[in-house]
């Protein structure tokens, strides 16, 4: 059997590590790529000089391909893209913006382009814009999220039915069984954020990882639905946001949310380990994760668990 995702990226396993601001730097991306997956540097939180440093570092740590994730809503997106292109990066994951903006530009430079979507309709727009593959990310995913609230279970088959390019499933996946489920639903590969956040090599602060280890199935919530929906780990900041959402409506709500969000919340929470007042972006599947191993261990376990899952599935449903 062949696989369109491993072919597209020239990797061994159809497993992508999601680009995460403040969490996925050179160390994590290189570890994932070295282990046979596709590592991604999350450029969203990096000024060009920092991004350059991370790309050069990753190139020194692994000979395998890796990518860069660029959220297009930030003003620095173009500079980040050119910085990565100049350093020879050939794989771009774009998100949080229109796929029309940079796809043709990147393709002309010989790059592989993947865009992150949360709805089948946007997936079609991505295909029309000429991307090579799509990440279809469900409601359970951590961080910024679609307004449509379409879960991975219902999103993947609908995206697969609408496009004729490879689909990478994301949202709620942290095990080999989860990978098998997504391939069953029609995806060709998976992207995992939270599972790789919870590894030794990620740049998430130790405090954040330790708090996440204690999480329960309802320990995340979708916050700021009325402005910029984002899935957060429950903490004081998330509860304050919830309180504001329960108290105000309309424009007043939006103003209060923007004021309360302020600046540097994500950096303070995820990277500096400020657990009360920081913003802790994480996926709903976090409560399934009970340890912080190395990336190599995670990858081995995923591969093993996938094989075990497939071998225990009945060939047909008649008993």
């Amino acid at each position: 059997m062949s696989n369109p995702i491993t072919k597209l990226f020239n990797v061994e396993y159809p497993i992508v590590q999601g680009g995460m601001i403040w969490v996925s730097g050179s160390k994590l991306a290189a570890a994932v790529s070295s282990a046979g997956g596709l590592g991604i540097i999350g450029a969203g939180s990096m000024k060009p000089d920092v991004l350059k440093e991370h790309i050069l570092k990753a190139q020194s740590l692994t000979s395998k391909p890796f990518g860069v994730n660029v959220p297009l809503l930030y003003s620095g997106a173009e500079e980040q893209i050119n910085c990565a292109l100049d350093l020879g990066v050939k794989i771009f994951f774009t998100s949080a913006g229109t796929p029309k903006k940079f796809t043709a530009y990147l393709k002309n430079k010989g790059a592989v382009v993947v865009h992150v979507t949360s709805s089948p309709e946007l997936a079609v727009k991505c295909m029309d814009a000429g991307v090579d593959a799509i990440v279809a990310e469900g409601y359970e995913a951590g961080g910024h999220n679609g307004r449509e609230e379409i879960t991975t279970m219902t999103l993947i088959p609908q995206v697969c039915a609408k496009v004729n390019i490879p689909v990478i499933a994301a949202g709620g996946i942290a095990t080999g069984a989860g990978i098998a489920a997504c391939l069953a639903l029609g995806a060709s590969g998976v992207q995992m954020g939270t599972r790789f956040l919870m590894t030794k090599e990620s740049s998430a602060h130790e405090n954040f990882k330790n708090l996440a280890l204690q999480s329960l199935p309802h320990s995340t919530q979708m916050a700021m639905r009325s402005t910029v929906p984002v899935r957060l780990l429950n903490n004081q900041f998330a509860n304050e946001i919830k309180k504001i959402e329960e108290t105000y409506t309309g424009d007043e709500l939006k103003t209060k949310l923007t004021e309360h969000l302020g600046k540097f919340r994500a950096m303070n929470g995820m990277h500096k380990g400020e657990l009360d007042q920081g913003e802790l972006e994480i996926g709903q599947v976090v409560s399934l994760i009970k340890s912080v191993p190395s990336v190599a261990e995670v990858m081995r376990e995923l591969i093993d668990d996938y094989q075990k899952t497939i071998s225990r599935l009945p060939k047909n449903l008649s008993f």
Copy 2:
């Protein structure tokens, strides 16, 4: 291979038709059971005399086992349970209440008891109460829904990790691929509501089925989060609810929602086909469904699609 769900219910396929108020009467339940699954009469919307009529009718239509779903939040629950017991029903799905209330009583009468849950914590309580199996229902499911918003993809493995009784996955499943995904995640069987609502034999009004056929991936919404969360098909009533939710907060919000809900919304919408002012409960997966076939056709397609899905899954992830 053997299967704990087919054994428990003495059926051929580990496929349960979800009990749905105003939708799953004798005709639907008997058709599903005759086709080798487990049909369920949704007693929630039935007075005892109507329930009796449906049970007797179903017994005349099929020789196969079928069950009754009893939402425990209604005052008539005990009467419904005794009515079904008197008529020889041996399979009970209870929901919307504590599993402690009737499980021992039903088990003493020799019945099989299954309770519907939306969180791993409640699943453990169900096991402790002595139920025979659990339905674990994700955020994408139609109708009344948990506050925790745990999606099927993250719920199933966490419930399976917590309990040592069989788990039936629900929420977002409408195809054989979806069944394969849920078995991969650790479930022993599946419950499908929306897929069976969209059949010739269901008692959903034709207007409702026709509107549902036109739905898009974002055509459902979770309404009344602050009172009784319920997933609805978008219509005028659902939009009015949304408007109220965007306008009021706190106790005023709860009062306005209760007032606006009024009575008979579900009957008027789902059973009488009042598309503007009725309440149309349906799952997010509805937009994947493009036809209203017979139950027998649905079952054949599910079995075929499952087999095809399993045969196309790679044995291991290395390419």
